[in-house]
């Protein structure tokens, strides 16, 4: 197997969102990674809810659906697909029940955000329930998606062709994404308000896609951090390729 020449560069990096420039990818592979980040990285999500009491105004089923969408932190190494963790909720009105009120039986798996409102309760209303969260992938159900708003664009190279003609009008030139300048500088277009005429006033510029260079925008719901999401997604592609290889070899 030949060693592919990849180059990875973080443009922005946070716990939950990042922009990463990856060079040396084919468009098909880039899309494969994107799809794997959405559908193949497993996360915990509430799957079954047992209601002991629900005197709120919301039906059990509606509350169940809301609970299913609460992101739960997922240490993937410690669990296997299909593993279950039980959470409990016991709240009485008046007040709002938040995801932070969920009590988990497993300290590793708990709501990623504590401030997701679940239901508003009035005086005398009460909700008591037990919920089973299960580890599964986004292809089984969208609530298991770890990556949200995952996408990519080509890196764009901007070249200065020359000065604008004396009587040419300076027009705005809107561009979104990340550009590479002639001296190899990587600049997000936010830096010049997405307008090339701001950065290169009085110049005539040309823009072209850099082949094999993709800028990924990756955002997670908090169940895994960005770097892990990317690494896991690539891992699943590798696993499937290995599986295919062994199947063919037999």
């Amino acid at each position: 197997m030949s060693e592919a020449d990849f180059d990875v560069q973080y443009i922005e990096r946070d716990d939950r969102s990042a922009r990463v420039l990856i060079r040396g990818l084919s468009p098909a592979f880039a899309n494969g990674i994107r799809r794997a980040m959405i559908a193949d990285v497993p996360t915990f999500s509430i799957d079954t809810v047992r209601f002991v009491e629900n005197s709120s105004v919301m039906f059990d089923e509606m509350l169940g659906l809301r609970l299913g969408l609460v992101p739960l932190t997922t240490p993937i190494d410690d669990f296997e697909i299909g593993d279950e963790v039980t959470l409990a909720l016991d709240v009485a009105g008046p007040g709002t029940a938040y995801s932070g009120d969920l009590v988990s039986s497993e300290p590793l798996v708990e709501p990623a955000d504590k401030n997701v409102p679940l239901i508003e309760l009035k005086e005398g209303q009460r909700v008591e329930l037990e919920a089973d969260a299960v580890l599964d992938t986004g292809k089984e159900h969208a609530k298991h998606q770890g990556g949200v708003s995952v996408g990519y664009r080509h890196l764009q190279r901007v070249t200065v062709e020359g000065d604008l003609g004396e009587f040419d009008e300076e027009e705005t030139r809107i561009l979104r994404g990340v550009i590479e300048t002639e001296d190899g500088e990587i600049v997000p277009t936010e830096a010049f308000d997405h307008d090339l005429s701001e950065r290169y006033p009085g110049k005539e510029v040309s823009v072209e896609d850099v082949p094999g260079a993709f800028v990924f925008h990756v955002e997670t719901d908090g169940s895994v951090d960005v770097e892990e999401l990317i690494v896991r997604a690539i891992g699943t592609i590798e696993e499937r390729a290995d599986e295919l290889r062994t199947t063919i070899a037999v």
Partner: protein, 44 residues
């Protein structure tokens, strides 16, 4: 099957002869109470 009278708020048990009527106050609007067992809901 247990119901609750919407006027006098008392628990009412209906039989097949009495019709839909609260035996205490005669009110004809009865509310069905939620059962006591644990209800399991699958989230899909």
């Amino acid at each position: 099957m247990s119901y609750r009278c919407s006027r006098c708020k008392r628990d009412v048990t209906l039989d097949e002869y009495g019709g839909v009527r609260c035996p205490y106050c005669g009110h004809r609007v009865l509310l069905k109470e939620r059962g006591g067992d644990v209800k399991e809901v699958s989230v899909e």
